[in-house]
Each structure stands twice: as C-alpha cells, then as structure tokens.
Symmetry: C2
Subunit: 107 residues, 2 copies
C-alpha cells in the first residue's frame, strides 16, 4: 500500500492517525496527517502531523523533545485512517502524562 493509494479524496486531504507505542502498545494520541506530513514522516523516520490549530505540518516533539521514531505505518480496510507504531521519547501528552488517553469515562 503506497501513500498515493490512500483515500485522500474522500477525506478531503486529512487522514486521522492513531499513534501507538510499539513496545507497550499504549495508544498515545489521535492526530491528523495531510500528504505532506505523511511524506515527511517516511523521509525522516520521525512522526510528523498536520496540526490543525497551527495550520501546518509539524514534527512531533520539535519544541518539547518528545519525538517519535517511526517503526511501522498501517492503514485500515477503507484506506482512510492510519496507525503509526512509534518509539516514544518522553511523555506523548503536553500535560506530562505518558499518553493523552489518561482519563476514564463513566456513565
């Protein structure tokens, strides 16, 4: 499966990415990529995302140092979402937690 075969058109250029720590298998974040972010991820070996709040492609951890080394990228049966398997340096969450998913929801 190549970058060009993903369903960018249906998704209006932005695919959701589930990022998972390759050793612990913890889900770290849900973020987005455009084609440029995914290309930079493959070119550099470091996770890049399209940050909607900044309106641009950014390397994860570029300011915090909490970078993510890419091990593998997966897509689903519809080719419209991704999993990044990464080696996480430091906490993934800007609040200092290991993962952004650190709160339990109850009814």
């Amino acid at each position: 499966m190549k970058i060009n075969e993903l369903d960018w058109e249906k998704m209006k250029g932005l695919l959701p990415v589930i990022t998972q720590e390759v050793n612990t298998l913890e889900v770290l974040t849900l973020a987005y990529v455009n084609r440029e972010a995914l290309e930079k991820t493959f070119e550099t070996g470091w996770a890049h995302y399209y940050r909607r709040s900044h309106g641009k492609v950014m390397k994860k951890g570029v300011t915090s140092g909490n970078v993510q080394r890419i091990v593998k990228v997966l897509t689903d049966c519809d080719n419209d979402s991704l999993v990044y398997l990464v080696e996480q340096t430091g906490p993934a969450c800007h609040l200092g937690e290991r993962t952004c998913f650190h709160k339990q929801v109850e009814a």
Copy 2:
C-alpha cells in the same frame, strides 16, 4: 469524567473512538459515537457506534455476531476523542481480519 463533560459541542456531536482489544492491545477500528451510542454502550456493556453510512446507532456485531464487551472507556486531554478497551468476539474487520488495520503503508 462523565459523558456530559466530553466536548460534544466542538465535535458537532460526533467523537472518534479508537477501539483496542484489552488482552492483545491491538488497535481494531476507528469509528464514531454520538451521545446516544455512548450511553447505550454504558447501559448494555456492549460497544455501540454511530454508523455514518447508516445514519444511526448500531451495536457492533449485531448482524455478524462479532460483538465487543466493554471493559473501559478512556478520553484524552481535550475530551474530544475516546478509546474503547474491549474483549472482541471473532474478527473485528468485516473482511474477516482480526483488525481493520492489517495493511502496511510504505512511501
């Protein structure tokens, strides 16, 4: 964290849900819930989603039998996405694969 505290407004009523098998920690699917789907999930103990293609709330596996027993629900630091930790019965993917994320992407 209660259902009402999630950021339904920002997300226009629909939150993305990453579903993860609680034993293997494999990521199975990326789907969506509205408030009704999340409430039914808690009420019944079985994963429900809002299926955008059907325009309604459906219990996962209602036709295939490949149901998901809910173990835990997590949210992220922004309260705008969820992780369902589930015990999966049978394959999660309608193609018969264990997970929908069964294809590797390459540059």
